[in-house]
Structures are given as structure tokens and as C-alpha cells.
Point group: C2
Chain length 480, copies 2
């Protein structure tokens, strides 16, 4: 890959950059339209990521951050860990957005160290739903999100460089989520969840809310560990890591946009100029502010990582992507919605458990096998040697799963014993179901599957929630 | 170096860790004593840094992060960029400290996204000067400091790995300081400075305050660029980078402690229980909270980096150290005091200018030359070839500086022309003055010099300030 931009790319990016600056200069004055500024910053972030990924390739290769793409003829070396560039630009965009999203408190006197001796409160002027900045009190939520994403980036880069062991990697997101959870504790400390309808009669005093206390922090921590790691293990073919992140981010943006667009029955529409907007509006605006630049940098990265890949993204990207989702789900309180969008990742994780926890052997890499003769990807397998064959129980399990078409089993005709089983990832499973195919086609089909499952998840969320919880914060005035 | 801890080290660190946890468990309950918690976190951070630096050495070497110590016989390879470990532990300690330093707002209801629908304000109980937590409004200052330090770490690691060019390196701190400056803008926006007494008569309306507006942001940005880079160029011999940072941090801690310790005339003492503490008290408490864990991780790092070095610290450490100083100076408003403590760095920078800006040739490394025969360090030199001799003007300048003992000049006896001049760093200058010496001795003397100059700076700050500004926030009630 040439490390320079061609003429079309250069002029397109310069044009986009210029337009973004023009929009930003306009929105900074006056009370601003933060959503417009966010879109401008996202465009800028796209341009920067696109150019920086291209330009920094040789420096990454020189520093040893390179990998061989084994599913190509000839297998060539390309820059690795390029997600770090996207993450850095993303964080920069989130930082620069702060003065566009929050009211500037007029502090008349200070003695330093965070002392605001005399504060003149800005009169909040509501000129419309999208045209208001957040009050100062929300800044700490936003900053904790930023701190968590930065910590994720630092630990991700460490992992990319030092090649940490699996048992260390696993807890990286747990540490990185600390600033988010700690500020959540200091800032809100709300740990109550809504009780499903059918359980209410069994609750003490028929309570509709249950206070989970420290269990809620465990739940949030588990979510922050799961989301990044689950994306990191659904990987190995060109474009899949970034592609799935784009799909999930896109669906989350759609979901949040649903809360903003006026529709009959939406209280926001009815009282738009009379009262403050629906409380959930701000939560979902915040989600958009965090996700839009993420979508932008990921798109720029995807254009370099899609089949045939010119760069690899590395662990940093997977961690930052998953953590971004966890961050918005936690700060805007829609963790259940996120889990519905992560169904393919959840299935892949559960399916992988026997290998991840070494119940059956797990090779270093489980990505599909490239057949150089046909140019197609085939399911990769774990061989079972005659010296260490699968146990009797395991053999029965494998044959049963094979009948259910949930694994591919190869039997040695001489000994009549299992000689190999396909590796337990849904990428291999897809190849078992659909037969060998080209790498680009495989990524495309998996991303379509992710999109369909995601839409189904959102449908379930917005139709079933009312049945199960009696409250849906989409169309009701009751904030949850 | 063995990558394990010996028995003494292991048990000492375990004991310190256990004691820290015990203290933390105690201070977390009740209204807490944040300063005690900060000391406990610092002890913990020391133990972690000490152990992690030792343990991660082989992983760093394997990842290619290693360097040759040229001033030893034989020149052996040791791990490089170990400052990143110290920086990571430092950031972790600052994060974990949040719930100990800030009141927990009791939020009864929230709709996510930073909405605090119902907030019950905690009644602030002042039980003594050190025994109160900060109100919630200070959290954003603290978080912006954390964000800036994390951004510095990310960019520092990039520099360590990718070996950026000088013109790119220079602006790393400018980008990293963005979150601090942006939150300063949103949060305070105070850009006025006190006018020196002798200038007051010439001010319009004899104003004692001047509003610098955007110039103040330029000044803060310049400070954030200067502090990290100035430490980064006063480097090259074992222990000097960390040593000078320890001296500066120690003196800053001393300076801030001066504001807390009661003494006659201190308004804090007189009204300790009657009114809120002096405004500057909180600013300097915040400084201590940020500096104490920095001192701790730097001490652990120094024990591995001091002569004879077992690890190198890398650019990450220098950037994070300098940025830590800039952060406290900006948030607690004592940038002039910091500049007084950075006098050796300022002198070294000015002395280096002709080489840094390529007015005269600058070799890749300017560290002192190791004389393998004597085992001593000598000033390193820039050779002047007969083909490219110094100009006539430059020759005059060099001979004048030599007379002032500010440079070492070697004259070729055959041509009577300058054949070499010592490189322009105060490390080489010190060797010109004091003659060749052992590496450990050189570091020690330079650190003693830094300490003496620092004490002189603090003395000037607290005696001259009253003469120049008419206001000293040390002993007066008038906050600046």
C-alpha cells in the first residue's frame, strides 16, 4: 500500500475538513446546535483517521507492528494495531467537542484548585430540542466516559505491543472501566432496576424497583468486561472487527434517534416549547455525541481494513469499540438494549466456552483456514491425535452436535475415531453451514446476519418491553 | 537484572500494600481524611510500580523496547520506556482516589445521560482543615487533569514506539493539554492576572488585574509544551530524568504544604473552625493529591533507573512528569512558582537553542562521552570539519564563550582553527566546569544543583512576591 493519498482522496478530505471547520466556527458562536457540531467533528475525525492511517503505515511497520495476512496469495505483511490511530483521533474529537456541548459557566473569581468562588449562572434558554447545551453538571459524566476510553486505549496499546497473556487481557476492560464506575458512584449512585411485571407480585410490598446496591456495580463491570472481549474474539477475517462495530454503533444511533424524532404520542412533541424536553432525550443526545465520532473513525478504518485488508486493526480497536458501547449503555441506562444488539457476540462467546476455558484443546488461532488451491476459506479444525483422542462422552457430544449441524466432525476411516473437529467460533460454524467461500463474501454475510439480528433485537426491545416491564421510556413520560 | 523480587523486597512491598489497604478501608467510611487516603494510595502505587517495573522487564525487551547503556563496560541492553509502567500505575492511583476525595452526591432519580433529576445535597460538615472532602463541583477539574495525563501517556507511548520526529514530538504536550484547557474554559474561564506594583500606575484606571483573554490560554498552552519538553532534553545520564522530577515534585509538595501548616499570621489558623478554610487551602490540597502518588511512582522508578541503571525511563515518563507539573500549576494557579523551580531546565533550553534550532550542527545524541579507559564521563563535542568550519562570527562567539567558561573549544594546532566545541547542554557544561567524573557523581551533583536552585526559587517566590505584586497568597487573606 502506498503511504500517500491520491489526488481524489486528498481533495475530498481537504474539502470535508474545510466544510467541518466552517460549520464549527458557526455553531461555536451563540447557543449553538451541539448535534450539528458533533456531525462536523465526526466529519473531521473521519478525514483525520483516513489520512493518518494511510500516512502512519510505514512507521508502524518499522516499529515491528505488522502482521502477515495468511488468507492471501502471496501472504504479505501489512501494518498491525492501526486501531490505535482511530482511537486517538476519536478521543481527540470527543475532547474538542466539550465546549460545544456544555454551557460555559461564568466564573467571576477563583482561587485555583477547582474553587469557583463566585459563579454567575447562565440563564438557560430553550430554543428547541436540539438547540441547547448541557448544563455543567453533566460534564463529569462525559469526562468519565472520556477517561474510561483513554484508559482502554492505553491498556489496548500495551496489549498490542507486549502481547499479554489471555488471563491478563481479560481484565483490561475491568480496570479501564474504573473511572466510569467510580464517577458513577460519586455522581449518581443510582443502583435500582425496574422489576419485570410477572415478578412484581412476589416482591416485598409489590415493589416495582429493586435496589441492587453493589451488585449493580458488578453488573456494570461485567458488561464492560464482556462487550470489549466479545468483539475481540469474534475476529480474524478482514473487516469483521470494524464491520460488526459499525453495525452495532449504527443500530445504537438509530435507537437513540428514535427518542429524538417527534412522533404521535411522544411527549416531547406535545410540549416542545412549553416544558423542558423529556428526560430521556438528553441521555440519548449524549449517546449520539459519543457514538457519531466513533462511527466516523470506524468507517475510515473500515475502508482500509475491509477485504482485501491493507491494515490490521489490533486489539486496541476491539477494546475501544466494546468499551464505547458499554460506556453509552451505562451512562444512558440501556444496558439491556445493548445486550440484545450483542446477541451474535453472546452466542459466539457461549459457543467458544469449551475452547476458551480449555475443556477441549484450543489452538493459538482459530480463524478459518485458507485453501490456497481454491482461494476459499474453510472451517479450521482442532486435530485429535490417536494418542490423545476425545473421551467417550466428548465423542458422543460431538456426534450429537454434528447431527444438529453445530460442528464439523472428521472421522479417521481406519480407526473409526474422531480425528478432527471444527473450531468453536460462529465464523467457522457459518462456513460449516454455508460451505467454503471467499473471505470478502464471508465478512459480508456475517455482517448482514449481525444487522438482521440487531434489528430483531431493537424490535423486541420496543414491543416486548411494555409487556414485560409495563414501562417503555420510548413512548411514555415515566423516566426509568 | 533478575525479573523477580528478592525475599526482602517481596515482604516489604506486601507489608506496605497490606498497610495501605487497611488505611484505605478505614478512611473510606465516614467523612474520611482524603490526605491520609492519598498517602495510602501513594504507598500502594509505590509498591505496584516497584514490582511491575521489575516483572515487566523481559516483556518489554521481547517487544523490542530496549536500549544500550553506552556509558558502561560492557555496554549492555536494558529495558527501555519503563516510564510507561509508572505512568499507568500513577493514573490508576489517581482514578481510584476519586471516591475518597469527593462528596458522594445522593442522587435519588436519574434518566441517564448525565441527568440528575432529583439531587439531595449532602450537608457539608467541616470537622477540621484536612478532614473534609471536596464538593462535587471540583470533580471536573480533577477529571480534566486525569484526562490530560492519560492523553500525555498515550502520545508518549506512541513516541516511544514509533520514534517520532522532533517537530512532531514538540507538539505532543500541546494536544495532550487540550482537555485541561477546554475544561478550564468551560469550567472557569478566568483569564485575569495580577499586575506587578510598579506597572499599576501605567494601567488604565490603575487596574490591579489585567484580563488576558485568549492570550492566557496561549500562556497555559506554552507552559504545557515547555515543562514536558524541557525535562525531556535535560536527559541522557542514569537517573537524571526521574531525579530532577523527584526534586521538582518534592519542592512543589513542600510549597503546597506551606499553605496547610498553621503558622502565626496564617488566616487558616485564626479562623480554623469559624469559617471555611482559606480558598488557597483547597487548591494546594488538590496539588498534594495529584503530586503525592506521582512522587511515589517516580521514587520506585528511580530505584531502578539510578546509576547503574537497570531500566531506562523513555519519553513517556518525561512527558508525564512535565505535564503533571503543568497541570497542578494551571489548576492551582501557581505557574510563576513552577517556572522558578524549572530554572535549570529553562537555562538548559536557552543554552541548547543554537543546536535545537540548527543554528549550529546538532548530533542525534548530545549526552556526555564515556571514556572507557578512565571510566569517567567527559563533555561530548560537535566536530567542525575543515570543509565546514565555523564562520568568522561564530568563531569569535565561541572564543568569547570559552573565556567566560561557557563552552569547551578544541583548536586544531595545525590550522589554528576550531576543530570541536562541546555540545550545548548544561550536563556537558557541568563537566566543562568540574572536569570528567563518574556518571553517578554527575547525576548527584546536578540533582543537588537542582535542589539548591529550587529552594532559592521558593525563597524568591515568598519574599519577593510581596514587593512586586503587593499580594502574596501565602500569608494574606486576599485570594489571587
Amino acid at each position: 500500500m502506498a503511504a500517500t493519498l491520491n489526488a481524489t482522496e486528498r481533495w475530498s478530505l481537504l474539502l470535508a475538513t474545510g466544510a467541518s471547520f466552517a460549520v464549527l466556527a458557526n455553531t461555536f458562536q451563540g447557543d449553538g446546535a451541539p448535534l450539528v457540531a458533533s456531525l462536523a467533528f465526526s466529519t473531521l475525525a473521519f478525514s483525520m483517521t483516513y489520512a493518518f492511517v494511510r500516512w502512519s503505515g510505514p512507521a508502524f511497520m518499522k516499529a515491528g507492528l505488522k502482521g502477515k495476512d495468511m488468507s492471501k496469495i502471496p501472504a504479505k505483511e501489512i501494518p498491525e494495531s492501526m486501531g490505535a490511530v482511530a482511537a486517538a483521533v476519536y478521543i481527540l474529537a470527543l475532547m474538542a467537542f466539550i465546549p460545544f456541548a456544555f454551557y460555559k459557566d461564568i466564573v467571576a473569581a477563583t482561587s485555583g484548585g477547582g474553587n469557583r468562588d463566585v459563579v454567575l449562572t447562565v440563564t438557560e434558554i430553550e430554543t428547541g430540542r436540539f438547540l441547547h447545551r448541557f448544563p455543567h453538571s453533566k460534564l463529569s459524566s462525559y469526562q468519565s466516559a472520556l477517561n474510561t476510553l483513554q484508559a482502554t486505549t492505553i491498556l489496548g496499546i500495551c496489549d498490542d505491543i507486549l502481547d499479554l497473556r489471555w488471563r491478563h487481557k481479560f481484565f483490561i476492560p475491568a480496570i479501564a472501566s474504573l473511572p466510569l464506575l467510580i464517577v458513577y458512584y460519586v455522581d449518581f449512585g443510582v443502583t435500582s432496576v425496574v422489576v419485570p411485571n410477572f415478578l412484581v407480585p412476589y416482591m416485598p410490598n409489590q415493589a416495582r424497583l429493586i435496589h441492587l446496591s453493589f451488585l449493580y456495580y458488578l453488573y456494570m463491570s461485567a458488561l464492560s468486561i464482556f462487550a470489549p472481549n466479545s468483539i475481540n474474539i469474534l475476529a480474524g477475517i478482514n473487516g469483521l472487527e470494524v464491520g460488526q462495530s459499525l453495525v452495532i454503533a449504527g443500530l445504537l444511533v438509530l435507537n437513540s434517534a428514535l427518542y429524538l424524532v417527534p412522533f404521535p404520542g411522544n411527549p416531547v412533541l406535545n410540549h416542545a416549547y412549553a416544558v423542558r424536553p423529556h428526560p430521556a432525550t438528553d441521555a440519548h443526545l449524549m449517546t449520539l455525541y459519543i457514538l457519531l465520532p466513533f462511527l466516523a473513525v470506524s468507517t475510515a478504518l473500515y475502508m482500509h481494513n475491509k477485504y482485501p485488508a491493507r491494515v490490521f486493526v489490533g486489539d486496541t480497536f476491539c477494546y475501544v469499540a466494546g468499551m464505547t458501547f458499554a460506556v453509552v449503555a451505562i451512562t444512558a441506562h440501556f444496558s439491556k438494549t445493548l445486550l440484545l444488539l450483542l446477541i451474535p457476540q453472546i452466542v459466539n462467546f457461549i459457543y467458544s466456552v469449551p475452547q476458551l476455558f480449555h475443556i477441549i484443546p484450543c489452538p493459538r488461532h482459530r480463524l478459518p483456514k485458507f485453501n490456497a488451491r481454491t482461494g476459499l476459506l474453510e472451517p479450521s479444525v482442532t486435530p485429535w491425535t490417536p494418542e490423545r483422542p476425545p473421551s467417550k462422552l466428548l465423542t458422543t457430544v460431538f456426534f450429537t452436535l454434528e447431527k444438529l449441524r453445530l460442528v464439523q466432525v472428521t472421522v479417521d476411516p481406519k480407526t473409526n475415531r474422531i480425528s478432527a473437529t471444527s473450531n468453536l467460533t460462529i465464523i467457522n460454524l457459518w462456513l460449516v453451514w454455508r460451505g467454503p467461500m471467499k473471505e470478502g463474501q464471508l465478512t459480508r454475510e456475517l455482517l448482514i446476519m449481525q444487522t438482521c439480528v440487531g434489528f430483531l433485537g431493537l424490535f423486541i426491545r420496543h414491543t416486548m418491553a411494555l409487556l414485560i416491564f409495563g414501562i417503555d421510556n420510548r413512548g411514555q413520560n415515566n423516566p426509568v
